[in-house]
Point group: D4
Chain length 235, copies 8
C-alpha cells in the first residue's frame, strides 16, 4: 500500500472534538499495519473498531503488543491521548447478553476519551422489573445509550422514563424477521417515546461519539476549549 | 355478477368453529349486495369487515337498514346468529388513539360470536404507568389481544407480564420507517417475550378469531359441542 | 464475563408460566458456560436453543455431560424441572424433511414442560393425501403447530380444516424468493384461513411457548396454580 | 401526439402467434385515441387492457362505441380478428371474489383469440371442499390458470393435483404483508408443487398469453400454421 | 368517542421534561376535538403535529380559533405553557425548499418550549459554498438539526464540520430510489461523520425533542429543575 | 431419523405426471441416505437436486456408487425409470457461463424423464448476434427454457422472437443490485414480451418440470396415458 | 415564504456548466411563484421540472404566461438563456408510449441548453426489428439516452450495439413487480452490456444533464469556455 | 467443459469500442482455464475481474504465469492488446481505504486500454478539506470516477464541484443499513447534484468502461477510428 492510499484527518479533533477512528472491517491487515505505523510516527492515539480476532492475529507482533485489544467488542486502542474527565457518567443500558459486544464498543470508546460511564446489562423488557429496579439511577445520566436487538422495545421504554438524551443502538441480535437488526432499527426510529435518537445497527462507537458531542457541550472543559478555528483550511 | 361467482363456505363453522366473514375491501358494492342477498335468503348471519363508509353508502337502502355498521372500525353485522357466552372475558389492549379502529374490529368480531371482552385503550409504553395501573386485571384474561403500531413495544411489554395467550396485532399507525405497519409487525414477531403470536397488520378480525379458537377449546360449551364431523365431504 | 453481565429472570415462571430460556446463538461459549454455572448453583432447569454443534463442543466437559443435547434441532436441556402433565396432546405438523429441525425444537420445548404432543411429519400439500389421511386425528388437538417453509401453503390448508388454535411457524427452507423464510412468513400472515397466528421464522421454541400459554389456561393444573402475584416487584 | 410516437408491431402475430395488445394504464386518453385511429385505418383488431372507467369515458364517443368494454376487468376489445377454435378448454380457477377482475382479464384475452375456457370461481383453500368437488373436471385441461391473492395457497394445491400446465397469477388482493401481491407472488414462485410457473401480479392477460402459447403448440391449427418466417426482417 | 378512549400522559413532563404531543394524522377530527376539549378543561397546553389543512378545517370553529395553526408544517399550538428560555440557540439547517415543512415542524416545536433557534435554509451540497459561508456561525450551536432528503449528503457534511450534537432528519423529498425518504434515512445512518444521530423520516418534531433533551441537560434552568420524582407511580 | 420422518409421495406421477424429487439442500446427509435406502427398497428412481459435493461425499459409499452425480449442476440420479421419448426437443438457452449450472439442472431433469432437448449456451444480449444466428432453430421448440442472470434481458428478447412457450429462469449470477437473482426475477416477470412465464431463481429443475407438463400434454404418449385416477384417495 | 427560504445557486453554471433547475414537485405553488419572481428580477433563465398541470394552473397568470409549459413531460421553461450549439445530436431512444413523458423531459432539457437531439420512440425489444432498423443511425451519437420501464431490456440491448455513452433511464411504467421502476432500475444497473450508466427512475432531466456534461467536454465551445474559476468562493 | 459452453464475443470491440471481459466470480476455475486457453489460441488480450486469490491459485501454473494479477482489486490481465493513449487523464476519486479495491479495479481497466488516469484516495467528506485541497486539479478531468460506500456523500459533493462527467461507484463498504452498498447506491442515484450517473455496487470495471466510452468519443484517435461496421452480422 502506497503512502498516498490513506490520509489521516489530523485536524478532526480541532474541528469537531473527536479524533479519527479506524474501521478495521473495511481494511486488510496490511493496510491496518501501515496506518498504525503512521500513527506511531506521528505519536497520536488511535481507536480501532471492528477488528476481528483473526485480523488482529495477522498484524505484526510489534503492533499487537502496542494495541490494547478486547475480542468480545473487537476494539483496540493504540495509545490513549485523553485524560479522565470529571463529568457525570453516561449510562450504557443493554437488553441481553448478545448485546454486550456493542455495549462494550460504546464503553471502550468513552474510555478512550476519558468520559466516565456506568453499564446496566441484561435488563430487557421481557423481565421488566430488572430495568425498573435501576431506573432512578439511570435517570441521572445526561445521556443514556440503550443497546437492544430483536424488538428493541427497551429503547422505547427507557425513552419514556428518563429526561436525558436517549441514544438507541439497535443490534443485529436475533434471527428471521430480526433481519440483522433492521427490525430493531425500524422499531427504534418509530419509537413512541419522544426525542429518542438512533444510530446505525451495532454502532456502539457512533453512539458513544454522539454522547461525547453532548458531554463536550455540557462539561466545563469542553466549554473552555471549544474548537475556535475555522472548519476549513484557508484556501 | 353471476351466482357462480361466489361460493359461501356454509360448513365452515361445523369444521372450525368460525363462520365465513366477508372482506369488503376486495369486493365491489354490487358484489357485496349479491352476497348479502344470498345470506338473507339462507337466513344466516354475516360479519362484514373493511367496509369503507363510501362503499357502505353505495349499498341498496334495504341492505343498509339491515347492516349494523360502525364507521370507525369499518365493520358491519348482518344478523347476529350467536348468543352471549358465559366465558371469562378476552382483554383488548391498545397503545394509542390511532390503534382504536383495529381494536374495535376485534371487539365487534368477539361480539358477533357472543364472546365477552374488556377494552384497555391508550396505554402505550411512552407512559408506562398507564399499563401498570391495570395490569393485574389484564393478567386474568385467558387471551390478551394487544394492538399497537409504530414500535409495537407494548406487545413485548405485555408479553412479559401476563400468563395467558398474547396475540399481537401490529397496526399501520405511524409514518416513515413505520412503513404501513411493517416495523410494528417485525418488532412483534421478533419479540423478546416468549410465546407471543402475531397476526397480519391491522387484522383485528384475525386476532379475535384466534382468541375464539382458544376460548372455543377452553369453554364448557365449546367442549360439549366440538365439531365432530369429518373435515371434508365424503367423496 | 463478569457476574453482572447477565441477570436471570427467576420470577418469569411465576409471572407468565414460562421459564427463561437461553438463545445460544447470541452468546459466546464462555458466556454460556457462565450461565450454566449460575443455573447449577441455583439448582434450576434451563432450556438452551440454537446451540450449534461447534459451540456445544466448545463447552467445558462437565457442562456437556449435564446437557441433554440433540444436534438436529440444536436444543439442549439442563435439568428437567417439570413433570409430565395429563393434558390432551398438542399436534406438531410439518411439511417436509427440511422442516424437521424446527418441528423438533418445538417438540423439545413441550417436552421440557411435560406437555404431551404428537408429530405429523412430511405431510406437505404437494401430496395433499398425506395430510387428509391424518386430519381427523389432528383436529382433536387444542393447539396445532404447523411448520412449513417455501410457500407455507400447509399452514392455510390446516387452518381451514381444524377447530383448535393454529400456530404457524414459517421456516427458512427454500431458496431464491423463499428468502430465508420471508415468503413463508408473509404467506402465513396473509393466510386466507381465519384466526391463524404466526411466530418468527424457524421459531419452534416460540410456537411451543404459545401452545403452552394455551394449555396452561386450559388444563386443570394451570387453572389451580395460576400466577397470582403482582406482575412487578413492590417498589 | 405525433405519428412517430408509436410503432405498432404488426408482424408480432406472424413471429410469435400473438397480436400486440395495448396496456392502457401507461397511456393518456389522447395517446389511446391515436392508437385506436391507427388500428381502424389498418383494419386490425386490438385488445386493450387496464383501461380504467374514467379513461374509457374520456375517449371520443366514436371510439367508445366501437370498443367492447367490461369495467370489472377493465378490458376492451376493438374488433375481434380471430375465430373460435375447436380446442380443449383452458381452466381458469380463482380463489375469491376479489380475484375475479384478474380472472376475467384472462378470460377476455382467451376469448379475443377464440380459445375456449371454463371458469371455476371462489374455490379458495379456506374451504377446500369447494376445489375438491370440481378437481376431476379441472384435471382435464391442458393448461390451468390459477388466480389467487393473499397466501396464494390455491396455486400450490392445484399444482399438486393436476397434470397439465399450471400458470399461477398472484393478485394484489389482501392488505398488510400481502403487500400489493408480493406475498402471493413469492409464495407462488416458492411453491412446493413441481413445475408451477408464474406471471406478474394481477397479470391475467399474460397468463392467458402463456396458455395460448401452449394451446398454439398443441392444437392442429397451430401445428399447421406455425410461424415459418424468420424472426427478424432481412437487413 | 368515549372518554376512556384516550389517556393523556399528564406526568410526562415531570418524568422526562417533555409534554405529550398529539399526532393528528392517526386521529379523526372527532377524536382530535375530544382531546382538545380535555386539554381545555385541564388548562394545559398542547402541540398538535401532522394536522392536514382538511382535518383542521373539519374541527369545530371554537377549536380552530384557539389553535395557532401553520399549514406548511401542519403544526398547531393550543396554548403555550412554556416561557422563553435564555439558552444558546439550536441551529436548524435544511437542504432545499422541499425540506422546509419538516424544518418548520422542528422550529415550531422548539418555539412551543421557549427554546431559541436559528434557521439556515436551502444550503444543500449541490452548491456547497452556501453552507460554507455560514458554517462558522452554525458551529456555535450546542445542537444542530440537519434536515435533508434525497441523498442527505448535507447531514454528513455538517457532521464533519461542527462540534455540537448533529441530529439528522431525513425527509421524503425526492422520487424513485429516494423511496419516500428511505435513501436519505439510510445514508444518514451510514454517515461517515462520527456521532451523527438520526430520527424518523420527516420527524422534525422528534428532532426538536432530541435537541430539547440536550438543552434541558445543558441549561441552568434544566439543571435546577431536573425531574426528581420516581419514573413510575408508587404501586 | 425415524422411518416416519419422511413420506414419499408415491402416487405423484399418477396424479400429475411427475415423480417426487429430493431437494438435497434442505436435508442432512443422514436424511438423504435414509431416503435413498427407501427408494432402493421400493425399486423406484429418484432425481436428487442441489446436492453439494461435500454432502455427496458424506453419503455412504454404496449410495455414492449408485448415484449418477454431476458437480457443476449438483444433480444426482438414482436409477432412471423413464425411457427416451420420441418428442420434439425442448430448447435450453442460457446467457453466460455462470448460468450453466442452472441450465444443466434443467437438462438433467429432462434427461431423467427421457425428454429430448438442445442446449444453446453463452448467447447473452451483450453480443446479440450470438442469439440471432441460432434463433430460427430455437423457434421450432414447443418450449424454450431461457436461463439468465443479472438483467435477464435475454428472456424478454427470446420472448419477442419465438412462438412456443417461454419459461424464464432467473439466476443468481451477478453482484450488488443483482441481489442473488432478484433483479433478474423481477425483470423476467415484468417482461415486455407477452406470455413469458417464470420460475424461482436458479430453479432449472422447476423449469424442466414446467416444460414436461407441456410436452406431456403435447406428446402422443402423454395423451394416451394421461392420469385418469382421482386426485385424492377415497376417504 | 420569506426571501431567505431559498438561495439560488447562481454560480453553478460557472462551476459545472449547468444551471440550477427547479424541481417543482417538492414545492408549493407559492414557493414556485417566489422563485420565478426572483429569476425574473435577476433576468436569468430557469428550467422547471415535475410541474403538475394542477400546480401550473395555480400559478399567477403573469407567471403562466411567461412559462413555456408542456403537460405530458410536466416541464416548463422560463426564458431560454442558451443558444443552439453546433454539435452532433444526442440520441433519445424510448421503449414504449408510456416512456414518452420521461423521454420528453430529457428532450426539453437538452433544448433548454441548445443541444441538438434526435428521438427514437416505441422501439422496445418485444418487437426487436423496430430498433434494429434504426440502430446504424443511433450508433453515430456521442451519447444515447435510453428510456425504458418494466424489464428495461432495451437498455442492455442498446448497450451491446453502440460505441458512445449509454445513459439508461429506468421508468416507473409497469405494475406489480415493476414496483414503480425498481425492477427496471435494478436490471439497468445489472446490465450485461459494459459501461452502461444509470440515473434515477423517471429522471429524464438528470440523463440530459449527464449527456450535457459529455457534450460540454466534447464540443469546441465547451473546450474554449471551460470553467476556470475555483470551485469555491475565497473564504 | 465443452467448447460450446462459451462463445467469446470477438466483434465487441469493433461494435462498441470495448473488448469482452471475464467476470471470474461466476465461473469455476476449470471454466476460466478453458477461456484463457481459447484466448491464447486466438492471441487476444483479456481482462479478468473478480478473481479471488483462491480461484487464482487453483488455475494451472502456466496460466498463473501469464496472468498479471493483483489481489487487492482481484483483477488479472492476460496480454495487453492496447497501446497508451495520449489523452487527458481520467480522475479516480475514492472516499476511504475500504474503497480502494473498487478504485483499483477501475484503474486496472483503464490501464488495460491504455487510458491515462490519476488517483485521489481517502478524501471522504468527514474531512472535507482533503477533497477541497485537490479539487482544482480534479476539475480538469473529462470524466471523474467517484468511489464511495456508506453514505456516498462524496459523490454528490464532487458532482456539485466539477464540470466533467461524474460516474458514481457505490461500494459495499459499511455495515447495518449500509446493506452491502444499497444505501450508497440509492444515495448516489438520488444525488442532489445534476447529471451524476451511477453504476452497480463495487463495479469499478463498469465505471472505467463508461469513462472509456466518453474518452473514445472525445479523443482524436477514437474520432478517426470510430466503429463503422453494422451492429449485427449480415443474416
Amino acid at each position: 500500500m502506497a503512502a498516498t492510499d490513506f490520509n489521516l484527518d489530523l485536524t478532526r479533533h480541532e474541528r469537531i472534538g473527536l479524533d479519527e477512528a479506524v474501521l478495521a472491517s473495511a481494511k486488510t491487515a496490511a493496510q491496518l499495519a501501515a496506518i498504525l505505523d503512521r500513527a506511531q510516527n506521528l505519536g497520536i492515539g488511535l481507536l480501532v473498531t471492528r477488528l476481528d480476532p483473526g485480523k488482529f492475529d495477522a498484524l505484526p507482533d510489534a503492533h499487537k503488543a502496542r494495541l490494547d485489544y478486547e475480542p468480545l467488542s473487537r476494539t483496540g486502542v493504540f495509545l490513549r491521548p485523553h485524560q479522565l474527565r470529571s463529568a457525570p457518567p453516561v449510562a450504557i443500558v443493554s437488553a441481553g447478553t448478545g448485546d454486550l459486544p456493542t455495549a462494550r464498543e460504546a464503553a471502550h470508546t468513552l474510555e478512550y476519551y476519558g468520559q466516565p460511564y456506568r453499564e446496566y446489562a441484561d435488563v430487557g423488557v421481557a423481565g421488566l422489573w430488572r430495568l425498573l429496579e435501576r431506573i432512578d439511577e439511570i435517570r441521572l445520566a445526561p445521556a443514556v445509550i440503550v443497546v437492544a436487538g430483536m424488538d428493541a422495545a427497551l429503547i422505547s421504554v427507557v425513552g419514556g422514563l428518563v429526561p436525558g438524551s436517549v441514544i438507541g443502538v439497535p443490534t443485529s441480535v436475533g434471527y428471521g424477521v430480526a433481519a440483522e437488526g433492521m427490525a430493531a432499527l425500524h422499531a427504534a426510529l418509530a419509537s413512541c417515546a419522544p426525542g429518542v435518537v438512533v444510530v446505525n445497527i451495532d454502532n456502539g462507537y457512533g453512539a458513544a461519539c454522539a454522547a461525547l458531542r453532548i458531554t463536550n457541550s455540557l462539561g466545563a472543559r469542553a466549554r473552555e476549549s471549544a474548537p475556535r478555528k475555522s472548519a476549513l483550511p484557508a484556501s
